[in-house]
């Protein structure tokens, strides 16, 4: 049996296999198109909440754990929480902007946590572009220096780039930079609305010409959506693993089918993930919708279609409704 078969099995069998946890919405950068809802309020998850949650995840066979944000490294208990993930045997991914990945913090991450990979955001191949998006002067040069330091200590990292109209002219240069660093580079071709529905990030969504350039330049494997942590499962009856094999959790314990599909299905302060996963009408509906999306796209449709983003934009996850221009076929 291949790993692909395993992934298909988790989608079809509703086996919780991967979880993305947004530890905090605090950040040391100020990206123009950040999708976090910074006005969201609630009771923050504390270290003991995370420990209980992680134990439950492990008991459900969950293997992949991604710590995200905001910037996860600015969480005051980041190392304590990540170490619990390491001790419980997760394949740990850290999604970071890379700004703090230097010096003692970097060494601690490598020595104490040893994540499977750190996914670092790159916003352009030039300082003026990268810094324009992060809105922090000097962030590009600092990131380049941090990349070199990561290489020196042997931290496994990959580079994620959300393509925007500000950086779409630098696809080749970013690719060359990644190649020089020996790091995989993955483009996400879709800027998404903020989680509160604010559409202003779409002001810098990539142009149709930029999308064409990306797909004429890149291999299909180089292009994927932010939420698609698992392999595409052509043999599955579902479109994706959202709510079937994966979940996302915000800093206040709200559980969603996916980082892109912000339809709450429970809260970890009120119910354990074991309970949420076992009995949940909302999750059942998401799973049903995923099958419906798959059937609707069977005759061809927009590549990299994301039902979560579609729901945020149109109110429905089902293809066929008019989407934002950046999300149409390329």
């Amino acid at each position: 049996m291949s790993y692909q078969d395993t992934v298909v099995g988790t989608w079809n069998g509703n086996i919780l296999f991967s979880a993305l946890v947004e530890l905090t919405y605090r950040c040391n950068l100020d990206c123009f198109f950040c999708y976090n809802d910074l006005a969201l309020r609630g009771r923050l998850m504390d270290t003991s909440d995370y420990e209980r949650f992680f134990r439950d995840l492990a008991s459900l066979s969950c293997l992949h754990l991604t710590l995200s944000g905001g910037e996860p490294l600015v969480h005051p208990r980041f190392f304590e929480i990540a170490a619990k993930g390491r001790d419980l045997g997760f394949v740990l991914r850290i999604k970071s902007n890379g700004h703090a990945l230097r010096g003692q913090t970097l060494r601690r991450l490598k020595e104490e946590i040893d994540p499977f990979v750190v996914e670092v955001s790159l916003h352009g191949a030039r300082a003026e572009t990268h810094d324009r998006q992060t809105r922090v002067q000097g962030s590009f040069l600092r990131l380049l220096a941090n990349f070199e330091e990561m290489l020196r200590i042997g931290l496994r990292f990959k580079i994620n780039t959300t393509l925007t109209r500000w950086n779409e002219g630098e696809i080749e240069e970013m690719s060359a930079l990644a190649e020089r660093l020996g790091a995989p580079l993955v483009f996400d071709p879709d800027v998404t609305p903020r989680d509160n529905g604010d559409l202003s990030p779409l002001e810098i969504a990539v142009t149709p010409e930029g999308r064409r350039r990306l797909f004429s330049f890149g291999k299909p494997d180089d292009v994927m959506r932010q939420g698609s942590a698992s392999l595409p499962a052509a043999d599955s009856r579902k479109h994706c693993g959202a709510g079937s094999s994966g979940i996302a959790v915000d800093p206040f314990g709200n559980v969603y089918p996916c980082v892109q599909w912000r339809r709450p299905v429970g809260n970890l302060h009120e119910r354990s993930i074991r309970d949420i996963w076992a009995r949940n009408d909302e999750l059942d509906e998401v799973r049903r919708l995923s099958e419906e999306v798959k059937r609707n796209l069977a005759g061809g449709g927009p590549g990299l279609y994301c039902p979560g983003t579609a729901e945020g934009l149109t109110g429905s996850p089902i293809p066929g409704l008019p989407l934002h221009p950046s999300s149409t076929a390329f």
Binding site: M1, Y3, D5, T6, G13, A58, S61, L63, D114
Partner: protein, 91 residues
């Protein structure tokens, strides 16, 4: 050569979970994923740096209807494969 007194553990970079009736093993250093069948998953779950191969055989004999001699040979071969694949090491 694997002896029944030997004790094994998974290597530091190895992560795994039993999913359904198989095990998914990830070797982080090489970004390699290995899938093991039900028996392989059982053996891997028992490699806790404390149990000897003999004790593991005792546990497996309670789970599977097989004679000790053939099971011992199969487990020894399997542990050899896991050693070669960089999944386990002697504790």
């Amino acid at each position: 050569m694997t002896t029944e007194a030997a004790v094994y553990r998974t290597k530091r970079d190895v992560r795994f979970r039993v999913v359904g009736n198989e095990a998914v093993v990830v070797r982080q250093e090489d970004a390699e994923v290995i899938a093991l069948n039900e028996v392989g998953a059982s053996v891997l779950s028992l490699l806790d740096a404390r149990r000897s191969v003999r004790e593991i055989l005792d546990v497996l004999l309670e789970q599977y209807d097989v004679d000790r001699e053939s099971l011992s040979g199969d487990v020894a071969r399997f542990l050899g494969e896991l050693l070669d694949a960089g999944v386990v090491e002697q504790a």
